[in-house]
Assembly symmetry: C2
Homo-oligomer: 466 residues x 2
């Protein structure tokens, strides 16, 4: 793109995005102007990633993240900022894991690996066994104990690359990571290797949580990079492959921790809460930049922008930075229980936990009656959001806000562009440098714009813009 | 985003993009399936960037790029592949430029710089002079010869960060780079420094073409990084600043070169041409990955996908890889002249020259009567493109296809997400690694889908899908 000639300049004028010249359009325009010129979210993210770093629940960095974000919220002149206690699992990876092909047609090969979160360790001496590859739990069941007992099961079902939304591809593969260990243990497997939950082929292993089923023996589980998964699979086609794996993960007693909350009280309907949130914890690798540092600073940024604009909300706007989304969801669960206990009503809860990429819109979820009533109330806003490339459609809300669903909250997931998310998710590569400043700030503006519309018009259909 | 719990799985099902189960929707779905599983465009881009490298017109690499793409098109089983001769400017940067603050309150400082394309050099000894900062040509005119004669003029108008589309911000600043040298020379300036055409603040200088106005003395012109522009501006507020600049650019006689063309002949209306294209040349830094290696491999990819799908086009589908978009547009101009001479009719021309990012849609341009007739014919396709996040709207076409506008072609610009483009544009940073494989392939699928619809239904309104 050279564009030094008038013929090219001429093409630019036509780029101007349409803007309805009405009050709401102008306010949403102001929100974007300030987000792109005076938002603090990028600097907050730099601190959270570069100074605090990764922050697994119960780690010292998680405590630092709580303190840092509490202090930042305190600078915004909110009506209240507080910490909500919760108890969180305390799991540690321990010494760097070792996963090695110890016997194959090409001899020994070290694999790029990360133990899965919540997994038990192999013990100092590690384990070694022949590998059995499967792509589905059905395949595993067919093989049965005869082929699986004493073996290491290798789950190698890749993402479906034809899914336009990578979260769908993730949804179609992640059961291997989440439940593979218990499924394999049913038939006597002694360990599990899982192909990383990733969109492409590279050497980056992706960790993430697993859950052990009650009453089934717990066995070690490790993720290997997609390139290594391809290699292992090809070696298995040429003969027996033995793998040695050694992980020293440990699970300790639960620890006390906190979710961080700040709010601006509503002037007319303070009892109606509009929640914006992300999760403060991350996995114990990389910097948790996209997952979910971005969602945290965007949620804080919503309050910063509203204060910067001297906006007096009719309803209560609350930012919640949830602890422990990654390996227990204790922050989200505790928040839901407390909300129920206090009889709080959440009109809407917006979660940002899909990365700090260019905004595409929002996906909306809720109990049938809640959705039927409030989703249509959002339709008149399409024209206001369209100039910013934002669409509102049916879809998922988010993990941390999910306990509020049964409490009649409309659940809204902020939806950025999904193409690059699973290149970084749960890896050493999820660092500050992969977050683009404008993309992050535009997300803050998008969420703030929706919060403004919900606050001004409610979600009841009547008194609604049209 | 942890998603190990069922509450989270539940959110995925809702992500499924809506798909109309009709013939066209299924074919567009197939186009995307193949683009995401069997497209060669990413491997072609790797070769064009990593093996060929940057490829300024008249450079040996430009010749290599012509030969490589011609050979690749030859493998696709097209009806014809040929080279279209054109004569291109031959400019070289020469030895690395030096731009140094030689006198200021903080002493001497080396600046990150790149001479502008087409600029003359300073000569071996370089030039040194006090700096005068302006933000607009109007400011410059007010200063006049009294303040400008014998000085180095520093154009420091930044991008407007509040423009949602970064190409608008570029359009609002690029005159400084394109015409600043001649504007400053009018008043006796001996050299020009230009703030890089960039979205953010960093140390990366952005080159790009300038044009000298006839009858005005040619003076040297260099781009400096946005960080250095901020520094220079702050130093100027504290007192006189002298800058030394040395560039050894040279302009030689024009050289023969080529645009590369391949086509599939139409079975029913071969005389109606649907063109897809990008430009093969790049600036002489980085690898020309986004600008415009991406557009070239996507244009080639359109033909590859159509052949892979055994699609027999009714109209002629032609891929054109234009030479010399960056510093002369001779490939595009020559193509337009030849089309006119041969009496060819282009029903539509689609250009991809805005980077290899996630598809957002297309912008459409044309002579008033052409636009009025053919733009409405595209509206019924919105439902088919919406599941892929694609929108069709009025806007720019592109530089290389612009000569076809007066020949009644509908000009269509492929529009990817614009947020990151001006972090890389015309810099050392525009390398293969910054192009995401899925984003590139989705762009190829988007363009192919539009080509399919134009080919099947035409643009006349009648016989059109509705």
């Amino acid at each position: 793109m050279g564009a030094m000639f008038l013929s090219v300049f001429a093409t630019f004028s036509a780029f101007t995005q349409s803007e309805k010249i009405d009050e709401d359009a102008l306010f949403i325009r102001k929100i974007h102007d300030i987000a792109l010129t005076n938002s603090q979210c990028y600097d907050w993210l730099r601190h959270l990633t570069k100074e605090v770093g990764h922050r697994l629940s119960a780690s010292p960095q998680a405590a630092a993240a709580v303190e840092f974000t509490r202090q930042m919220l305190d600078t915004l002149g909110l009506d209240s900022v507080w910490l909500q206690p919760c108890r969180v699992p305390h799991w540690i990876r321990g010494e760097k894991e070792i996963v090695r092909i110890s016997q194959s047609v090409m001899g020994t090969v070290e694999l790029h690996s990360l133990a899965l979160g919540n997994a038990i360790g192999t013990g100092e001496r590690g384990i070694a066994a022949p590998v059995v590859e499967v792509k589905t739990f059905e395949e595993l069941e067919k093989l049965g104990p005869a082929s699986v007992k004493g073996k290491i099961v290798f789950f190698n079902r890749p993402f479906d690359p034809t899914k336009i939304n990578t979260f769908e591809a993730y949804g179609g593969a992640v059961e291997q990571r989440a439940w593979g260990a218990s499924e394999a243990a049913k038939y006597g497997a002694i360990g599990v290797l899982v192909r990383s939950m990733a969109s492409g082929l590279d050497d980056v292993p992706h960790t993430g949580g697993l859950a052990y089923r009650d009453g089934i023996e717990k066995i070690p589980a490790v993720a290997i990079s997609t390139n290594d998964a391809e290699l292992l699979s090809s070696l298995l086609q040429q003969g027996e492959v033995k793998v040695f794996m050694r992980t020293l993960c440990q699970q300790f007693e639960d620890e006390p921790s906190y979710s961080v909350v700040g709010e601006i009280k509503g002037s007319e309907k303070p009892e109606e809460i509009i929640l914006v949130g992300g999760h403060l914890d991350s996995w114990d690798v990389g910097e948790g930049a996209h997952d979910d540092g971005a969602g945290c600073v965007q949620s804080m940024g919503v309050l910063q922008l509203l204060k910067r604009l001297n906006y007096q909300p009719r309803r209560t706007i609350r930012c919640v930075l949830f602890m422990n989304e990654e390996n227990g969801l204790m922050g989200g669960k505790t928040y839901g229980e407390e909300a129920k206990r206090k009889g709080e009503f959440h009109l809407a809860a917006i979660e940002s936990d899909r990365g700090g990429f260019t905004p595409r819109g929002f996906t909306v979820d809720g109990e049938a009656d809640v959705f039927a009533l409030r989703f249509p109330a959002m339709q008149p806003w399409s024209d206001l959001l369209e100039p910013y490339g934002l669409r509102i459609k049916k879809g998922g809300g988010g993990a941390d806000i999910s306990p509020l669903k049964s409490q009649q909250a409309l659940l809204i997931g902020y939806e950025p562009d999904p193409q690059r998310y699973f290149d970084y998710h749960h890896t050493h590569a999820d660092v500050f440098e992969t977050v683009n400043k404008r993309e992050l700030e535009l997300g803050t503006a998008a969420i703030t714009s929706l919060v403004f519309l919900i606050d001004k018009y409610g979600l009841e259909g009547d008194g609604n813009k049209n």
